[in-house]
């Protein structure tokens, strides 16, 4: 009996359980992300949250939403992109929280939600990386800290309060987009099985 084969066979149920657990986490965070966005727009006042409100996207080099071609990529590549985005989001969510503490000091609930979102993004990103490592696909490219730093440093002028509100909206939106994307990618893994 090959002990390595034995360990591989015994490892698979754990990996499948981990994948299911990570997928469930992503599904839960998708709901939380929707609530965060609702709470955020409510605190900024109209027109934030109004139907059709669509401010221009601010450029955050190193972090954008999932591209239209994302779905066509190999699963492992998609999960790598998911992990990288989830790794970059906590720093941005923390920055939004600090600013909202100044803009909306009487809204501790929003600040708690932003803090939890940062923690949740970090946790989901780490879980996805664990799955990738278990599948033999290590994370590639710049680390999450580098992406965050790149995103944070690309702007070149002082911000206004309105643009700060817009940026917070964008970050909360990106958080929702990426946890939703991660949930979709993991569901393929759950239903398709470990190759």
């Amino acid at each position: 009996m090959d002990p390595q084969a034995d360990s591989s066979i015994s490892f698979l149920p754990h990996l499948e359980a981990k994948i299911r657990q990570t997928h469930n986490l992503a599904r839960l965070l998708t709901k939380y992300a929707e609530q965060l966005l609702e709470e955020y727009v409510q605190q900024q006042g109209d027109p934030f949250g109004m139907p059709g409100f669509s401010p221009p996207r601010l450029s955050l080099a190193g972090l954008s939403g999932p591209s239209p071609s994302h779905a066509g990529l190999p699963l492992s590549e998609r999960l790598r992109l998911d992990a990288a985005a989830l790794g970059a989001l906590p720093a941005l969510l923390d920055a939004v929280r600090r600013h909202q503490a100044e803009l909306n000091p009487r809204s501790p609930r929003l600040q708690r939600s932003l803090e939890e979102a940062a923690r949740q993004a970090r946790a989901l990103g780490a879980a996805v990386e664990t799955v990738l490592a278990a599948l033999g696909s290590a994370a590639r490219g710049p680390g999450p800290e580098h992406s965050a730093t790149t995103a944070l440093s690309t702007a070149n002028s002082a911000a206004s309060i309105f643009s700060a509100k817009v940026l917070g909206l964008q970050v909360c939106g990106l958080y929702g987009e990426w946890v939703n994307r991660t949930e979709g990618d993991l569901s393929q893994l759950v239903h398709g099985g470990v190759a």
Partner: protein, 459 residues
């Protein structure tokens, strides 16, 4: 120092107190409108950016576009404020690239993060935004009150300025310092007992006065309350004494006094937090009939932890409350602060079921025993009474003997069983209550002897 310092002139827009970039130290943002693709998208800038204004003042703003496309024009641009399109008559073209806006008599900001003034392109897309902060400077906080639970801490609360909402986020800071020396200190633990409160947990001096005040600050100015001077020792209290509550704790009790119809006994313990420091405490009791709103106050409870309420109505439910005042701590001559009244506790006085005059509950039986066990005990009790109850002109008789004596002496049926005119001996803890009762102290227990009829049914 003046009571309040108004901010700069309020008729023109003013810049926010500090640049937003300082809030974003690790995060530098693109100015809204920097094109992602750089493919000829118009961009614009609103001036002033994020102004602060007084309610009722006016605002002149401009939206200036600069685009990559030649011939970019301000024609067709329009404004919205908090999502609502502003009437076109409020804006006009200053030049081909600038749209001006004039707003008058501004209302207070709708949200604490500022009103959203947005410049739109003809197609509705957003070109630029600016947040307006419209409100009032803070008014002088007032009505500062402070108390200490344990002589180590201090909690203060205050009322914000008289007219309430300033429409701007107003920061309140509780400051304190020793009166004759020392530096200003700032309280750090806010909202402990309400939105305008702060708790100083430690490092407070005793036997020396503190000066305490509140500073209110917002984007339009600041205001300072009057200074409150106090010694921590003089404001020691507890929000409530060990309570008489709907679920009374075992050591707080309101109960009947045997079968006495007009009395209730109230017992409590002194507040445990003060027992290490308490030199004296005085208590007050108040009580009322269940369906009445009039409280009667018993003021002379002193520092006892029990009290007998007398003169109550039989068969009646009473609500009772207790409060305490820790005065005389460490020799302080000042009266302390009365605590809140404890939660009411209800108890009822017994209702007499004895027969009235002419009635009887005992059916006569044949053969009156002259020496049954009850009778022997009663005789022993009467003997004890004679020995321990010092009331002048007091005589004790068993009822049947008293009846016989009554008939002989032709007295009325309502003659008292314990006829007494004495007042008792105060040295023995006896307090007379006139002709109808006598109080004695037996091994620390007060016993009230009331003039009443005692009927013993024969066995």
């Amino acid at each position: 120092m003046p009571a309040g310092r108004p901010g700069p002139a309020a008729q023109s827009a003013r810049r926010p107190p500090r640049p937003l970039s300082s809030l974003w130290s690790p995060l530098l943002l693109c100015v809204l409108g920097v094109p992602r693709g750089g493919s000829g998208t118009h961009t614009a800038v609103i001036s002033p950016q994020d102004p602060t204004l007084l309610i009722g003042s006016s605002l002149q703003a401009t939206c200036s576009i600069h685009g990559d496309t030649p011939g970019a024009t301000a024609e067709g641009l329009y404004w919205t404020l908090n999502g609502r399109r502003l009437p076109s008559e409020l804006s006009h073209l200053l030049n081909t690239s600038t749209l001006a806006l004039a707003l008058a008599n501004l209302n207070g900001s709708r949200q604490q993060s500022g009103d959203n003034l947005v410049c739109h392109a003809r197609d509705g897309s957003i070109l630029a935004g600016s947040c307006l902060y419209v409100g009032l400077p803070p008014e002088k906080p007032f009505n500062i009150s402070c108390w200490s639970r344990n002589m180590k801490d201090l909690t203060c609360r205050w009322t914000p300025g008289a007219h309430g909402d300033t429409f701007l986020h107003t920061n309140y800071s509780l400051k304190y310092k020793l009166r004759w020396y020392g530096q200003d200190n700032t309280c750090e633990d806010y909202h402990t007992v309400g939105p305008h409160s702060c708790h100083i947990p430690k490092d407070l001096a005793l036997f020396t006065p503190y000066e305490i005040w509140v500073e209110a600050t917002n984007r339009l100015g600041s205001a300072r309350s009057d200074v409150l001077t106090l010694d921590v020792l003089d404001v020691v209290t507890r929000p409530a004494p060990p309570p008489v509550t709907t679920d009374p704790p075992p050591d707080v009790h309101v109960s009947r006094v045997g079968g006495l119809e007009d009395q209730l006994s109230v017992r409590w313990v002194s507040p445990p937090a003060l027992k290490d420091f308490l030199f004296q405490a005085k208590y007050q009791i108040r009580y009322r009939v269940e369906d009445s709103v009039d409280w009667k106050v018993v003021d002379d409870v002193s520092n006892q932890t029990s009290c007998r309420l007398a003169g109550l109505k039989p068969g009646t439910v009473y609500f009772v409350q207790v409060r305490c005042n820790p005065f005389g701590i460490y020799g302080s001559k000042k009266a302390g602060i009365w605590s809140e009244w404890s939660h009411p506790t209800a108890a009822s006085t017994p209702r007499s079921e004895r027969p009235g005059p002419g009635g009887g509950v005992c059916e006569p039986r044949g053969g009156e025993p002259s020496s049954g066990p009850v009778r022997r005990e009663l005789k022993q009790f009467l003997g004890w009474l004679k020995k321990h109850a010092y009331c002048s002109n007091l005589s004790f008789r068993l009822y049947d003997q008293w009846r016989a004596w009554m008939q002989k002496s032709h007295k009325t049926r309502n003659q008292l069983f314990f006829p007494s005119t004495g007042r008792g001996d105060p040295a023995l803890g006896q307090t007379g209550h006139g002709e109808r009762s006598c109080r004695i102290n037996y091994k620390g227990q007060a016993i009230l002897l009331q003039l009443a009829e005692l009927e013993v049914c024969p066995n």
